[in-house]
Amino acid sequence: MASKPRMKLDKKEAKKGEIVEVKALVSHIMESGQRKDSKGNVIPRKILNKFTCTVNGKLVFSADFQPAVSANPYIQFKFKAVESGPVVLTWIDDDGSKIVGEDKITVI
């Protein structure tokens, strides 16, 4: 399940203070815990419940997902380019495992 996320920054280089848009998609079943299998047993919940984005080690955006977030969750947000560094996206699964995607931004 720990597949690689797809992520894209709308620019690789940004002027200081410029807004950078991030789009990311990760494949995950996001099992809601509401559904039942053919025998009527509830399928246990298994979702990515937390998403964070750090730029150069500083938290810029995060989100808490509930079961109402679609399978293969897509997230799009923006940040202000202040300093160059790695852009790290982390999704945390209910079971504690992590999916990590990384790119970098250069401030010119």
Binding site: D64, Q66, V69, S70
Partner: protein, 151 residues
């Protein structure tokens, strides 16, 4: 996926759900799920002013399994004045909570987009918390043709 619903099961469960909903409706007030409680917990009981928040969603969602949703808040997003959190709830899903976005002054713009599940036609409510402790809210009705909570 190993989950298969045949038509009979889907019909049976949905009839069951309707019957249950009627039963609940006849007993208590029409609080469909915990969305009102979630908002109360989020704001600490404070009244949220309308405006500043915008929910951008299709009015008619064909597939409730994945409905694109953009929430944006009008804010300068500086150290002095920024949006800290945005709670999104849906009043017609089995559970009200959808997603909570946490912003920082480094976000630059208080805007985020994701795709959500909607079980039926319902109202989406977003509540934004500002760093000065005030709250703003907006809501949007969305019609759903095919529900998205797997029967």
């Amino acid at each position: 996926m190993t989950v298969n619903f045949n038509r009979r099961q889907v019909l049976a469960t949905s009839i069951g759900a309707v019957a249950a909903a009627n039963l609940i409706g006849s007993i208590g007030p029409a609080a469909a799920n915990d969305s009102a409680d979630l908002i109360k917990a989020f704001t600490g009981g404070k009244q949220a002013a309308s405006g500043k928040v915008k929910i951008d969603m299709p009015e008619i969602a064909e597939n409730g399994n994945t409905v694109p949703m953009t929430v944006s808040v009008d804010s300068p997003m500086t150290e002095q004045s920024y949006v800290t959190d945005v709670l999104v709830v849906a009043d017609g899903n089995p559970r009200g909570g959808v997603v909570t976005f946490h912003f920082t002054p480094m976000s630059g713009v208080a805007e985020a987009n994701t795709r959500i599940r909607l079980a039926k036609s319902q109202k989406i409510i977003a509540v934004a918390k500002m760093n000065d402790g005030s709250f703003h809210t907006a809501s949007k009705d969305v019609k759903v043709t095919i529900g998205g909570c797997g029967g």
